[in-house]
Amino acid sequence: MENTIKVERAILDLTQEDLARKIGVSRQTINSIEANRYVPSTVLALKMSALFNKPVNEFFKLSPDD
């Protein structure tokens, strides 16, 4: 799974800490998601979708090995 959360965050001018606070997780979790070390749950993905005002599949994409 690949994602463009870093880009979406930059568009809204949010730090990892800001985004973490808004969706109720730790900064380390955001860091792990951005680095593709952790795939978030559907609930978390939908929270991000609501925050970025974009559908989930615009910032989460399947990689060839998925």
């Binding site: 730790s26 380390q28 979790t29 792990s32 749950s41």
Partner: protein, 149 residues
């Protein structure tokens, strides 16, 4: 109550049980009890004056309870990722615990045979040793997983 409602209620209470965590303050309590139990277990003869089996077993139990408390205590920042890492650490603890219980008696037998020139017999590990090992693996692997998340 319909069957579906009953199943939903059952599932809800099961999830509640799985997600049960003690408040953060219990970590300090667990650490203190662990430290005290560990020291008393080593120096019990000097402290209590006798080497009683009851004292030894009591201290072993309090050591296990303190580790269980630390294992069940909430993290500073608890979220879905820490929950996943915690579950992963429990899985590791279970697998390594089984391997430890299976392999260790033979390792002890091998080492004992070399040291005692073949007079050793294959024994079994006590529940205390296996449980301490599993809890140690869980606590340490959770710490390592969190560090490298």
């Amino acid at each position: 109550m319909s069957a579906q409602n009953y199943m939903q209620k059952e599932q809800k209470s099961l999830m509640k049980l799985i997600n049960f965590r003690l408040p953060r303050q219990f970590m300090i309590f667990g650490l203190i009890v662990f430290g005290l139990s560990f020291l008393l277990l080593i120096f019990r003869e000097a402290v209590f004056g006798i080497d009683s089996l009851y004292i030894k077993e009591g201290l072993q139990k309090s050591l296990l309870v303190s580790m269980l408390i630390m294992s069940l205590t909430k993290d500073k920042e608890e979220d879905e990722m820490t929950t996943q890492l915690r579950m992963q650490s429990y899985a590791w603890a279970f697998i390594t615990g089984v391997i430890y219980a299976l392999v260790m008696p033979y390792v002890e037998f091998g080492v004992g045979s070399i040291l005692n020139e073949g007079e050793e017999t294959i024994g079994t590990l006590g529940d205390f040793r296996i449980l301490v090992f599993m809890l140690l693996v869980q606590l340490m692997s959770y710490h390592v997983l969190k560090r490298y998340r």
